[in-house]
C-alpha cells in the first residue's frame, strides 16, 4: 500500500460554510500552495479526521470542478449516531487547520458510452454529481438530475445546481410536498441511458429495484451508497496470520479500523464495501462471517474464504486472516 492512501495530501481548510442545517461545505487548498492532483467527476478522497486522540478515516466525494485543481470541495453531513467522523469534522475542524487526505480515487465515474445520463440523488448524495455534471456539461453530453431533499431548509445545494443547469435539474421535497418517483423517471427511456444513483442505502436500493423491474440491466445502473454508519456490532477478535497479532474489534469500530489502531496496515480505498481493495483471505474460521459489502458475489460469500475488513464482521470463536 502506498503512503498516498494513508495521507499524502496536506489540505488546508480554506473555507467552511453551512449549506443546510446538517451539511457543511469545506473548501481545501494544498497546504504548500501548490496544485492538487487532478481527478475525474465522481471521485472521492479519504480524509483523516483527528477525533479525541484517535483518527477517523472518512471518504467524501469531491464536489468542486475537475477542471480546477487549485482547490477541492467536499460536503459533510453531520451524523449523530455514526462513527463520529462527521461529528469531528463539524465540531473540531476550523478554517486554517491542515488535514491529511489520500489522493482521489474514482469508483463512480460517468460512462463514456452513455447516450443519456440520468442522475438520481438524495440529500448529501448530490456531492459526486456536482463534479460529474461539470464534466458532462463541458463535453456537451446530455444529462438530467433528479434530486430529493428533506424540506425547504435542505435545498440549498439543489437550488445552486438549478441556477447552474436550469431545467435539467428537478428538485423534490424542497417545497415540503413533491416526492421523487423513480419508476416515473426511469420509464420509457431510450436505449443507452445510464442511471447514476447516490444517496441513503434504502433510496439507492429502491431505485435499483425500480430499474430492474423496468428491464434495465446492471451495466446501465451505477450507484454509490452514502452511509456513515461504519461497521458496528458485537465485538470479536481476529488473528493476523503474518504477524500473529490478535486484535480485538470493539462494537464501535470496523475490523479495518481495529487493525489500523493496533499499528498494522491493510489496503483500502472506499472504506464502504464497494471497491474491493481491502479483500482479504480468510485462513481459518470457527463461526460465521457477517458480510456487509457490495463487492463479494454470493458464491464468494458461501465459501467463507474472503472478507472485506472495512465493513464486514464475524460472529466467531476464531478468525484468522491472511494479513
Amino acid at each position: 500500500m502506498t503512503e498516498a492512501q494513508h495521507g499524502a495530501l496536506q489540505l488546508r481548510v480554506k473555507r467552511i460554510e453551512p449549506v443546510t442545517p446538517e451539511i457543511n461545505r469545506y473548501t481545501f487548498c494544498a497546504a504548500d500552495g501548490s496544485w492538487l492532483p487532478p481527478f475525474s467527476g465522481g471521485s472521492h478522497i479519504t480524509v483523516l479526521i483527528p477525533s479525541d486522540g484517535d483518527t477517523k478515516r472518512n471518504a467524501y466525494s469531491l464536489m468542486s470542478s475537475p477542471y480546477d485543481t487549485s482547490e477541492y470541495q467536499i460536503a459533510v453531513r453531520r451524523v449523530n449516531n455514526g462513527k463520529r467522523g462527521s461529528l469531528a469534522m463539524h465540531d473540531n475542524v476550523r478554517e486554517g487547520d491542515v488535514l491529511l487526505a489520500g489522493i482521489p480515487a474514482n469508483l463512480f465515474p460517468v460512462s463514456k458510452h452513455a447516450r443519456h445520463h440520468l442522475f438520481l440523488a438524495g440529500g448529501v448524495g448530490v456531492t459526486p454529481v456536482y463534479a460529474q455534471l461539470d464534466e458532462l456539461s463541458l463535453k456537451g453530453s446530455p444529462f438530467e438530475l433528479h434530486l430529493a431533499v428533506r424540506g425547504p431548509g435542505h435545498a440549498a445545494l439543489g437550488r445552486e445546481l438549478k441556477e447552474r443547469y436550469g431545467d435539467r435539474v428537478t428538485l423534490y421535497g424542497h417545497d415540503g410536498r413533491s416526492r421523487l418517483n423513480a419508476s416515473d423517471i426511469l420509464t420509457g427511456r431510450p436505449l443507452g441511458t445510464h442511471a447514476y444513483v447516490c444517496g441513503p442505502r434504502r433510496m439507492v436500493d429502491d431505485i435499483i429495484g425500480a430499474a430492474h423491474d423496468l428491464g434495465w440491466s446492471d451495466s446501465n445502473i451505477h450507484f454509490e451508497r452514502f452511509d456513515d454508519l461504519g461497521s458496528t456490532g458485537d465485538p470479536f477478535s481476529v488473528t493476523l496470520a503474518r504477524s500473529g497479532a490478535v486484535i480485538e474489534v470493539s462494537p464501535e469500530q470496523s475490523l479495518l479500523e481495529a487493525v489500523e489502531e493496533a499499528g498494522h496496515k491493510l489496503p483500502y480505498l472506499c472504506r464502504g464495501g464497494a471497491c474491493g481493495d481491502c479483500e482479504t483471505e480468510v485462513l481459518e474460521l470457527e463461526g460465521t462471517i457477517d458480510h456487509r459489502d457490495d463487492w463479494l458475489s454470493e458464491s464468494d460469500r458461501c465459501t467463507n474464504k474472503l472478507i472485506m475488513p472495512c465493513v464486514s464482521r464475524a460472529t466467531c470463536t476464531k478468525l484468522v486472516i491472511n494479513a
Partner: protein, 201 residues
C-alpha cells in the same frame, strides 16, 4: 501459416430468452433462422407477444427458415430480401426502442458483426445482447488499402474487388470494423503469392 485461435476472435453465445427484459427484438439472417426458431420455441406467450422478429432471407448457403418462423405468434415479423436491409431495419427499430429491450442476433459472422455495430451505436451493453453464430464460417474482410468490405470470403488469398490487389486474410478480427483484416499478399516480392488454402475457421 497464420496464427489461428487468437484472442480477437469473437466468442458467441447461445440464444436463450433473457427473462429480465420487457421487450425483445431479434435480427437473423439465413442459417441464423435455426437458432432463432429454437429461441422462439423457448419463449412463453407473453415474451413472444413482446418480440419483434427481423429476418433476412439472404444466405450464403441458401438456408431459409422463414416458414418455420412464421408459425410463432410474435408482435411483429419483418422480412428483408438482403442482409444489409435487415441491418438497416434493426437500426430503425433501435432508434425508437426503450430501455428494457433485449436483442438477439444470429447468422453469419459478418451479419452478427454489422448488427453489433448498430447495437453498440445505441449504447446497448453486452448484457442486453446475445449473439449466436450459425451456418458457414465465411469471413467478412476489410481491405487495409482501400477500405472495401468483402463478404463471404472463404480462401486465404483473394483479389480485393475495391482495389484489385491480392489480399491475404489475417486472423485478426476487429470488433469495431466487424471484419477480418486483409493486407496485400505480395508486397515483398510482387507476384509471389502464398499458398491459397481454405480458411480453417
Amino acid at each position: 501459416m497464420l496464427i489461428t485461435g487468437i484472442k480477437s476472435r469473437p466468442v458467441y453465445d447461445e440464444l436463450t430468452p433473457m427473462t429480465s427484459g420487457l421487450g425483445h427484438v431479434t435480427a437473423a439472417q439465413g442459417s441464423g433462422g435455426k437458432p432463432l426458431v429454437r429461441l422462439l420455441g423457448e419463449m412463453n406467450p407473453d415474451q413472444l407477444a413482446a418480440t419483434t422478429v427481423l429476418y433476412s432471407t439472404e444466405s450464403f448457403t441458401g438456408q431459409n427458415y422463414l416458414a418455420d418462423i412464421q408459425k410463432f405468434k410474435v408482435c411483429g415479423l419483418i422480412v428483408f430480401p438482403a442482409n444489409a436491409d435487415a441491418v438497416r431495419g434493426l437500426d430503425a427499430f433501435l432508434a425508437t426502442a426503450k430501455m428494457g429491450t433485449r436483442l438477439y442476433i444470429s447468422g453469419s459472422e459478418g451479419f452478427i458483426g454489422t448488427s453489433m455495430q448498430v447495437a453498440t451505436s445505441y449504447g446497448m451493453n453486452r448484457d442486453e445482447v446475445l449473439r449466436e453464430h450459425a451456418g458457414s464460417f465465411s469471413r467478412r474482410v476489410w481491405c487495409a488499402h482501400c477500405s472495401h468490405y468483402s463478404e463471404n470470403v472463404t480462401r486465404r488469398v483473394f483479389a480485393c474487388p475495391g482495389c484489385e490487389l491480392n489480399l491475404i486474410v489475417r486472423d485478426h478480427y476487429s470488433g469495431r470494423l466487424a471484419a477480418f483484416q486483409g493486407v496485400k499478399a505480395d508486397s515483398e516480392v510482387p507476384g509471389e503469392l502464398p499458398e491459397n488454402e481454405e480458411l480453417d475457421t
